[in-house]
């Protein structure tokens, strides 16, 4: 082979390699997109924490949570969504360079386990903050312990103590009782002639979940029925038939169950041809697209679901980032009210941590959480706050959505939940007096 040919061959190979290298660089540069949650926080764009796009590599800040998990009652989506947001924060500078190390424990509905797990978080794990708690007995069993140890807990509440007796626990949701109340209000406005308020025995050990729903019925002067059933539901057809029989023609039924159980009952109703016999309502857990998709067209506009948080396909900046964060960091977690709650809790906790001046300590972080007010987010109807009060219920205004062709769409805009308790009446008074949720000045998100 002549040297000319060899040189030509070498040149060809070299130029091919160079071309490949250049194209790889160009493709890489052109194809690179900004990391999820990076950028600058503004009125139209939400970011994860500082939004730097740089991984936090400092000493981890330990944050913990507790959620209920047993067959028929599973709140893990809340903690998973909180973990997803914290992971996004860690990929965007963390808390001034320190990543958040989030750990959550699951518990069955058992006061001993709930107490033990709380002590594990506080005494063994020595967490700096407690966020994402959604444990049926947590507020009842642990609120004094948290208070004694200086924690201001941001969670999603279930038990009545979460809303009327825990000074150092504030929730991003209004809980099943108030949510069922909202659903009942929607049904009464739609013309329901009676109300059957139905929930699970396991999810309502204190028997308070249906009280607001019944109060709405009594105020409207229509018959009310307090109904409880075991979960998992094992005979959905009879269950649905029983509820419809109790409600009577054109009555209303409010279901307060986790989505899989509510879906069984609703499908049982469909199988029995009972959809149009009554007006159906559901507390906020039903505000999930897979429920709408599973129900299908026969339920279009026929299930009034109370929505404590924004519509799932809302284009607001926080909701847009919520979907992106869940997709990247918690792909198997359902887009729905539960994950919205966990995400919002992590969002608020992160902002509070970023507002701590100087060293991050448990005391400073919890004081910062306590001082949160006027926290604006498009996920909630009104700005969120914590503050100093004997009890908290900052999210007491919500919406109604209905399924439409596999999606939940808005039926009614934000409305005040019927204040059937003196606590909620007091809370609304404090909100006005202390300007807790006027939105001005807005709480700084990035410190």
């Amino acid at each position: 082979m002549s040297s000319k040919k060899v040189k030509a061959g070498i040149a060809l190979v070299a130029s091919s390699l160079a071309a490949l290298l250049v194209s790889a660089v160009v493709t890489g540069a052109g194809g690179a997109t900004a990391p999820v949650g990076s950028g600058k926080q503004s009125a139209t764009k939400s970011v994860c924490g500082l939004g730097t796009g740089q991984k936090a590599r400092g000493t981890p800040i330990k944050v913990g949570g507790l959620v209920t998990f047993e067959p028929g009652t599973d709140f893990q989506d809340i903690a998973k969504a909180a973990a997803a947001y914290f992971a996004c924060v860690n990929d965007n500078g963390g808390i001034r360079g320190r990543p958040i190390q989030y750990k959550y424990y699951t518990t069955p509905i058992n006061p001993v386990t709930a107490a033990a797990q709380a002590r594990k978080l506080v005494a063994s794990d020595k967490v700096i903050a407690i966020v994402g708690n959604t444990e049926i007995l947590d507020c009842t069993v642990n609120h004094k312990y948290y208070r004694a140890n200086g924690y201001y807990v941001i969670g999603s509440g279930i038990a009545p103590e979460c809303y009327n007796g825990a000074p150092t626990m504030a929730q991003v949701n209004m809980g099943p009782a108030y949510s069922a109340t909202g659903a009942a209000q929607a049904l009464v406005r739609a013309g329901a002639k009676s109300l059957v308020c139905d929930t699970s025995n396991q999810g309502d050990p204190t028997g308070y979940v249906n009280l607001g729903c019944m109060a709405v019925g009594r105020q409207a002067g229509i018959p009310v029925v307090n109904s409880h059933h075991d979960v998992p539901v094992t005979d959905a057809n009879s269950h649905a038939l029983e509820l419809v029989t109790r409600a009577g023609q054109d009555g209303g039924i409010v279901l307060t169950y986790i989505p899989p159980e509510a879906l069984k009952i609703l499908q049982g109703a469909q199988q029995q041809g009972l959809i149009d016999r009554v007006k159906w309502g559901c507390a906020t857990p039903c505000n999930t697209d897979f429920v709408a998709a599973a129900l299908g067209a026969p339920w279009n506009g026929k299930l009034y679901v109370n929505a404590e948080l924004a519509l799932l396909d809302s284009k607001g900046p926080d909701m847009t980032l919520y979907r992106a964060v869940l997709k990247k960091y918690a792909g198997k977690t359902a887009i729905g009210s539960f994950s919205q709650m966990g995400y919002t809790e992590a969002l608020i906790a992160t902002a509070a941590m970023l507002n701590v001046k100087g060293a991050i300590t448990k005391q400073k972080v919890n004081r910062a959480i306590r001082d949160v007010k006027n926290f604006k987010t498009d996920i909630l109807c009104k700005p969120w706050y914590f503050g100093v009060a004997p009890y908290h219920n900052p999210n007491n205004t919500d919406k109604t959505v209905v399924p439409l062709n596999g999606k939940m769409v808005q039926k009614e805009g934000c409305f005040d939940i019927f204040a059937y308790t003196p606590q909620l009446r007091n809370i609304r008074q404090w909100e006005k007096q202390r300007k807790l949720n006027t939105g001005s000045p807005p709480y700084p998100r990035q410190g």
Binding site: D74, P232, S238, P260, A294
Partner: protein, 309 residues
């Protein structure tokens, strides 16, 4: 004043119970179907299959997965549910059947409990429960008509469930009575060793029993996923109602099994409109099974006592 003849219980009229008869019959029929599978397997192998519900749940979830992740026709997915039931049960029978053959019945039953727990864990691992709801609704479920005199709607799946349960019971009874394989199964129920000595291929007969029972198990899983809901835990533990029906039949009579299964379903459903006991209606299988066992125990004890006298 209400018609006295119409007032049955706690102020409720007959009309209050009527709508629940259809749901009770359908659910009871599937309990009976499951119980038939349990009884036949027990008679042939001496194994009380506690994994019956878990295997059915696995079949139903596989069916759901096929429908949601592939383009297979619906009938293929439903058939897969039945076949998965048969395959898993047969595999267990082939592997563990002979291992446990000489052990007592408690050990055999505990072996199947192990299978149930393994399957339950596997299902929760592959298809986490979480807040995500799955549903497996056959086309027949959306078809139905109003039964005016019962003031209720009956759907296609409920009709299929009832007819299928009765058909399986009849065919199984005929099969056990008139076929060679059936006779061999009945012989094994009496004495496995003697049956083997007589030249019956006991391993093959047992395999047939495992397979047949598994196919029934898959079919039950499919029907229950429609009538009750697609949830691994719920379907796994519905075996309790089927076991109660099998116990009432003393693990012998298929006809009593059928009646007992339907009776349990009806008892559960008819307790629904009685507000005072409605929330305890899931106890119906236990209560009926315990009552039956007490009665049978008494029948067995009394003759012995008489003989002793």
């Amino acid at each position: 004043m209400p018609d006295v003849a119409e007032v049955l219980l706690l102020g409720l009229a007959l009309d209050d119970f009527k709508p629940f008869i259809l749901t009770g019959l359908a659910l009871g029929a599937v309990y009976a179907l499951s119980a038939t599978g349990i009884v036949v397997l027990y008679q042939a192998t001496g194994v009380l299959n506690l994994a019956f519900g878990a295997v059915g749940a696995l079949g139903a979830l596989v069916s759901w997965e096929l429908l949601n992740s592939t383009d297979v026709p619906h009938w293929v997915a439903y058939l897969a549910c039945v076949l998965v039931g048969g395959a898993v049960t047969l595999a267990y029978g082939l592997v563990f059947g002979s291992v446990f053959a000489a052990r007592d019945q408690l050990v055999k039953a505990i072996g199947t409990l192990g299978l149930a727990l393994v399957l339950l864990g596997t299902m929760y691992w592959i298809w986490p429960a979480g807040t995500f709801a799955r549903s497996l609704i056959m086309g027949t479920t959306n078809w139905g008509y109003q039964v005016d005199f019962l003031n209720a709607r009956v759907n296609g799946t409920q009709i299929i469930a009832f007819c299928f349960a009765v058909a399986v019971t009849v065919l199984t009874a005929l099969f056990l009575r008139f076929t060679k394989l059936g006779t061999a199964m009945r012989a094994m129920a009496n004495d496995r060793e003697i049956t083997a000595t007589l030249g019956v291929p006991v391993r093959r007969v047992e395999a047939a029993a495992w397979l047949g029972s598994g196919l029934v198990c898959g079919a039950s899983g499919l029907l229950l996923a429609n009538l009750v809901g697609l949830d691994a835990g719920t379907l796994t533990f519905l075996v309790i109602s089927a076991l109660a029906a099998a116990l009432i039949a003393r693990l012998r009579s298929l006809w009593v099994t059928l009646v007992a299964g339907i009776g349990i379903g009806l008892a559960e459903a008819l307790a629904t409109p009685i507000f005072e006991i409605s929330r305890y209606r899931t106890m119906a299988p236990f209560v009926l099974a315990i009552a039956a066992l007490l009665i049978f125990q008494r029948q067995r004890v009394v003759p012995v006592a008489r003989a002793t006298r």
